[in-house]
Symmetry: C2
Amino acid sequence: MNQRWSYFLSLPCWIGRWLLIALLTGIPIGTASAFFLMALDWATGTRQMHPQLIWALPIAGLVVGWCFLRFGNSVERGNNLILDEIHEPRATIPFRMMPMVLVGTVISHLFGASVGREGTAIQMGGAIADQWAHRLHLDGETRRILLVMGIGAGFASVFGTPLAGTVFGLEVLAIGAMRYDALFPCMAASLIAHATCLLWGAHHTHYPTAIVPSLSLTPVVAVIVAGALFGLMARLFSWLTQRISTLLRQVIPWAPLRPFVGGAIIAMLIMCVAGLDRYIGLGVPVIESALRTPVPLYDTLGKLGFTALSLGSGFKGGEVTPLFYIGTTFGNALAQLFHQPVALLASVGFVAVFAGAANTPLASTLMAIELFGPAIAPYALIACVISYLFSGPQGIYAAQRVERHKWPGMKH
Amino acid sequence: MNQRWSYFLSLPCWIGRWLLIALLTGIPIGTASAFFLMALDWATGTRQMHPQLIWALPIAGLVVGWCFLRFGNSVERGNNLILDEIHEPRATIPFRMMPMVLVGTVISHLFGASVGREGTAIQMGGAIADQWAHRLHLDGETRRILLVMGIGAGFASVFGTPLAGTVFGLEVLAIGAMRYDALFPCMAASLIAHATCLLWGAHHTHYPTAIVPSLSLTPVVAVIVAGALFGLMARLFSWLTQRISTLLRQVIPWAPLRPFVGGAIIAMLIMCVAGLDRYIGLGVPVIESALRTPVPLYDTLGKLGFTALSLGSGFKGGEVTPLFYIGTTFGNALAQLFHQPVALLASVGFVAVFAGAANTPLASTLMAIELFGPAIAPYALIACVISYLFSGPQGIYAAQRVERHKWPGMKH
């Protein structure tokens, strides 16, 4: 009987313990995300008021590159370092990762690189979570769950999507399977970080609720075909970013010179060709307009090129918001081609290119529901699953494990 | 180069093949669900017009029990048979499962047993899907995916929730993990079956969009505590149904006599005590009213008792709609106790008791979004995850595998 009581108490104790850890990690992560979002607003606003800042982009790249070479060798690998530590623990993630990636990203945005923000959020989350694992002397399995919480909480708070954050943390670790052992901790940390971020007064972009046709054959076929193209676009994005990175490493051995050269090319293009500035920074205004009104197809290619060059040469931030941009504009162009409502394929493209690149079809579908309302749900699910199948054996996170092949004929 | 082309063609071929199989299974499953729903409407309407039909419940039980004893020994185990065949294939699921469970369920509802409908939908889906596996001579792994499609398509079409159906098919197989290899096939079959069911003109219950408070501390704490109680209620339900079944098997060795006795007890109670008829049948009107206005706590216990007696003695149908009833009324009572909005805890209870009993927290959360709108999403996720943790090592499906412990301290 005594044993039975202790068994019944063990679950509330386990939940209480993880709730405490979720508070200890979620509150600082949500706070970091809130200040990060405010800093990004400031950087983007300042850059738009002073377009000449773009001339300093090569210098900014040089400085960020030098700082990471000098002080950040151990944190250079970013998201992949965190995924690796979850799969094969080696050493505590240095706390310096947090300020370095934060400042590096804000500088990248201030001077006009085309980068995102989820990488920063995830790395801040991972670095904060791992400090607790270290300080509280937590064992390996507990630390593993803590790092998943850091990923989920960072993602949830920076995009304002706690459900997508919860599932993203579980889903991003491996391709083809999902384990539930971190479900409660990751959910608690995601919700707490999201609520904390809101309490600080940070605001997320509010997208219009997608008005979409009811489920019928023509739009479904359009979404299936578009889903395959979104997956191939995700594959092209991963390949191009990786290719530019490898090429620059071969040609320019001294790391800080690479973002200098990348920044110089971007600055010259922006200054020489009018209108190219819609491809730098986060690009949220373009995303918002592409959800409603037609945009040209070359918007997709422009953003693809600028982002691959920015990230491949070493600027900091992440891939996800540029992937939203690429997906939304690509879906917008496909809607014109397929004679479908712009809102349908643009909203679906927003999440589906990301689903293919990150190999997270369920988190992306939940994100579509959280951002665009429930009517988009079946279309988003179709496009995300097809894009996930078409995006190839690897995505933007090289450290992601392949648990199962996406389909039986898939080769590595 | 040639090899490369064949590689790129292999994915569209794989998708095309599964789309074809999804059409072959989804259309008949959606059709079966449509006619099942219409038959249920007829049975429920007829029973309400002729309350004296309850006197025939023991005879109905005897007849259904005798039919299953005589012709249905191989299909008696229902949902568990399908789960077993997925984990350890032995023999084709007999097609007779479909008409037998369909007629058995309609008779159960016509004469006033307290049963659900998802068991019937899943078993019809599994039986239909397995006929194709048999006729097309599909290999073991393909057949496994086909059975998952049958489960997803049956669930999706009978409740009108294609996203929840997709994830339910993947999630119900095992506790603590989810594999993605059936993701596309299950999604395709669920959507096709859902669309087919709608095309036949079948209608699903439309619940009011839940108006819930914005995410803040008091309702979150209420939902956490309620979630634990929902999980314990799910555990009580599984235990009681199982206990009554075991007891009746010991006392009454001849199977058809068990639903006769169960039916006789139910009929006598209904006839002797006025007002108890709210606990028989599907109970959709009570669910609808409990989502809006306060109901007494004994509604939960009444439905629990009548359902455990109906299912435990051998009536056909399933557990899920009674679990919705139990969850909604229990949430309703807890809302009065905790001074929270009835809509919040009743909607959350609707999905969370089911999440705990079926061990499907993500499918249940998606179902909440599909039925009650996206505002309920974070509350539903919290309640479903906590209920899943508290519902114990097993649920209503004995054949479900335990892939991982729900939490490290959990014992079998």
